[in-house]
């Protein structure tokens, strides 16, 4: 038999560490049906016979929903028929903010779950001068209480033992609702009250009608919460002491430094530069290696397997397709390592604190900074990280503008275009002009995000008042185990999620690009040999010409000439038009497609060769195809256009609205089109 154990707790109590410690590597990330919220489950053995499924839920402060994260937890805890409805709940708390943590504990207990209270970070007790009387606490709360430390491993076996005794748990509620308001709660239990106060739905619980106004209900809710805190205060008076003389002076000094009006911003800026730097330079070595290996694999497959359609599909469609996903793993992993470090150490909350006032004129909150920063790697996890923004307008605006952040898929496009149209010279004698333009592209992304946010703020009406309430967690040394598991988990989510789409599309593109009408495409070789007869081409050159002819007459080529008039005002010829068109699935295919389009066998990302070839490309009138006007036009197009199927899919799921998803696509792509057209015509 399998017992379901839900881990519930406030953010910043180390709940994920507890999950990792209990499950080891036996975990998997999944989605809740219907909505994408990371839900992690893992298996743990307790004793000889008991197999336990552990469910890690997002951190929440109360069972009253304030954000999307919290709603998810409630869907699991309130609905008896939910797949993850737990048999026992472990409320994870920590030694320092135990009082605040216990509010949620009393609510969970009153829902009638067999409950275990785990107090984490026991190793901090002597450091902070805190003493906890476990026996007194356990007796007053009528619950098994275990003191644990995921850092030292203390108490984990006791926690498992306590979980395995769940059937014996005392399920009586802690709060006597009558003590909140004797007349109102005379004949009402906790679940009925939740049905009335927050519209919760429980099986077998009738809705209550009492004629009270919204405001009166809110007043009762406040009284209930205050009463809970009073009760917690009484319990802790007997079981919890903190020696005020134990100083945590360095924490206060760190706060003053990191939120200083000069140093605070400078440090933040430096940290961001370090992150960007790491994403580009650290990842280039493994990326080159992956690139090379996949190119070798492709070559090996086409050399080894018998010739035919299947081998072609494998070597030109599937393997490069998978390679196009795998190549982003180093960047994604490094980015999430930093995000995990920033969050685990407590620094991210300081950034939110520092940036909130600056973000508000744009209809954003300090919490929007996290998605905008993550967006530099990939918009998909970035959009998901907007979930903890309570205000629905701020969350929506954040999600709508996040794809403007210069994601890693734009890098190859920028690199190749910049090296084509921006001269390799120094500004002021020491700043490389090409590097400067690259940096400008990043600023342009953020500028577009902020400007759009400001416009959206004018359009979208506020449904509720905007507010910011965040905890300032103490600074802590990040646990390596947690950082690693975040990296693995997020990378896996990226590979599985985005990977499927990129893979499917690359197979489709391969098919359309390598097939065509029999009358032209089928006779490519004869036609080209005939056309170039007597021109003394080498075998390689002839082969290149044949490939080029095939592409022009493939289905994708036909599509390209069809679409060319649309992109002509932007200065693109039919080849660029195809590359741009195919980029609507994912931007990163641009370089590979251009490479094929310009008749070069694309052996991985050989950017220099592609650049040389593109430089030689001429219009019928003899002018360069990739001149400054077309180059800038392309840069602007790629900076603004919504060219990522995965982002569209995630937007649909996170906003739960096709309307906003389409508005985003049309706005971004429209902006891209018109700014590219403007730039082209000004520079032409």
């Amino acid at each position: 038999m399998e017992v379901k154990v839900a881990l519930v707790g406030n953010p910043n109590v180390g709940k994920t560490s507890v999950f990792n410690t209990l499950t080891g590597l036996n975990q998997k990330v999944g989605n809740y049906p219907g909505i994408t919220v990371d839900r992690k489950t893992g298996v743990s053995r307790m004793g000889d016979t008991l197999k336990v499924r552990i469910i890690d839920l997002p951190g929440i402060y109360s069972i009253q929903p304030n954000s999307r994260d919290e709603e998810v937890v409630l869907e699991t805890l309130f609905d008896r028929h939910n797949t993850y409805y737990p048999d026992v709940v472990v409320v994870v708390t920590e030694v320092e903010n135990l009082k605040r943590n216990l509010l949620l504990f009393t609510q969970i207990k009153d829902l009638g779950f067999p409950t275990v209270l785990a107090i984490n970070m026991a190793d901090q007790l002597p450091v902070k001068g805190i003493r906890i009387d476990l026996e007194a606490l356990s007796e007053k709360l009528r619950t098994e209480v275990v003191l644990i430390s995921t850092r030292t491993g203390q108490g984990i076996s006791q926690l498992k033992a306590a979980i395995s005794r769940y059937v014996e748990a005392d399920k009586r509620p802690l709060l006597d609702l009558a003590s909140v308001d004797e007349t109102y709660f005379r004949s009402m239990d906790y679940k009925s009250w939740l049905t009335r106060s927050q519209g919760a739905v429980f099986e077998g619980v009738e809705p209550v009608s009492d004629g009270l106004s919204e405001s009166e209900i809110k007043r009762l809710q406040q009284k209930e919460t205050v009463r809970r805190y009073q009760q917690i205060g009484e319990v802790l008076k007997a079981a919890y002491t903190k020696d005020a003389s134990v100083a945590t002076g360095w924490q206060a000094r760190a706060d003053r430094l990191l939120t200083h009006r000069v140093w605070g911003y400078l440090i933040f800026f430096a940290v961001m530069m370090l992150v960007f730097q790491a994403i580009f330079s650290w990842s280039s070595i493994p990326m080159d290696w992956i690139d090379e290996k996949f190119a070798q694999l492709s070559a090996w497959v086409s050399a080894t397997l018998p010739e035919g359609k299947f081998t072609e599909l494998l070597a030109e469609g599937v393997i490069p397709g998978i390679g196009g996903v795998v190549i982003f793993i180093p960047q994604i992993a490094i980015l999430f390592m930093f995000i995990a470090l920033l969050e685990e150490s407590g620094y991210m909350s300081r950034v939110v604190f520092l940036m909130d006032k600056l973000m508000r004129p744009f209809g954003l909150s300090g919490k929007s900074v996290v998605p905008l920063i993550s967006g530099v790697a990939c918009a998909i996890p970035a959009i998901m990280s907007a979930r903890n923004i309570e205000n629905s307008r701020e969350r929506l605006i954040t999600m709508l503008v996040t794809p403007f952040a210069t994601c890693s898929a734009r890098i190859p496009v920028y690199v190749i275009i910049i090296s084509l149209v921006i001269p390799e010279q120094m500004v002021f004698g020491f700043i490389g002009l090409q590097g400067l333009v690259m940096t400008l592209m990043y600023f342009l992304g953020f500028l577009a995000a902020l400007t759009t946010a400001w416009l959206l703020k004018m359009v979208i009406k506020a449904r509720s008042r905007s507010y910011l309430i965040i905890e300032m967690p103490p600074y802590r040394r990040p646990l390596l185990k947690n950082v690693l598991s975040t990296m693995v988990e997020k990378t896996r989510a990226f590979v599985e999620g985005a990977g499927k789409i990129i893979l499917a599309l690359s197979v489709l593109l391969w098919f359309l690009g390598s097939h065509g009408p029999a009358s032209t495409f089928g006779k490519a070789e004869e036609t080209v040999i005939e056309n170039f007869a007597g021109k003394n081409l080498s075998d390689d050159e002839l082969q290149d010409e044949i490939e080029g002819y095939k592409l022009r007459n493939s289905y994708i080529g036909i599509l390209g000439s069809g679409i060319e008039p649309v992109f002509r005002p932007l200065g693109y010829d039919w080849k660029i038009s195809i590359a741009v068109l195919t980029s609507f699935a994912a931007r990163e295919v641009f370089v590979g497609n251009l490479a094929t389009l310009y008749n070069i066998g694309s052996h991985g990302e050989e950017e220099t060769r592609i650049v040389e070839r593109m430089e030689q490309e001429r219009r019928p009138d003899g002018s360069r195809v990739f001149d400054l006007a077309t180059g800038v036009s392309l840069l602007l197009f790629y900076a603004f256009a919504m060219q990522c199927i995965s982002t569209v899919a995630i937007m649909r799921r996170e906003t739960n609205s096709w309307k906003w998803t389409f508005i985003q696509i049309i706005f971004m792509t429209g902006l891209a089109y018109f700014s590219a057209m403007l730039a082209y015509n000004l520079l032409k």
Binding site: N66, K99, Q222, T225, T259, D356, L358, E390, I469, E471
Partner: protein, 80 residues
């Protein structure tokens, strides 16, 4: 006085807060009549506020702090 009038380092006791205009989350985070609140520091642009409520750190915006009535705690000298 209101919570936003505190100076960094000053402590006060919450007297009243308007539940109709403030989110319940503030109460859930431990801020309600009777709680002891200390202003630790303000963000560089004067907003938001970094507080300690009954010893637990919390950060809220100025407009919210303006709606919380507090009574300044003065140690040593009474009835100032």
């Amino acid at each position: 006085m209101k919570l936003h009038e505190l100076k960094p380092g000053q402590k006060a006791v919450v007297r009243h807060l308007d539940v109709d205009r403030l989110p319940m989350k503030l109460v859930e985070m431990g801020c309600f009549p009777g709680s002891e609140v200390e202003l630790i520091l303000k963000a560089p642009l004067g907003d938001p506020y970094y507080l300690r409520i009954d010893g637990m750190p919390l950060c809220i915006r100025k407009d919210m702090a303006m709606q919380v009535d507090v009574e300044l705690l003065t140690y040593g000298i009474h009835g100032s």
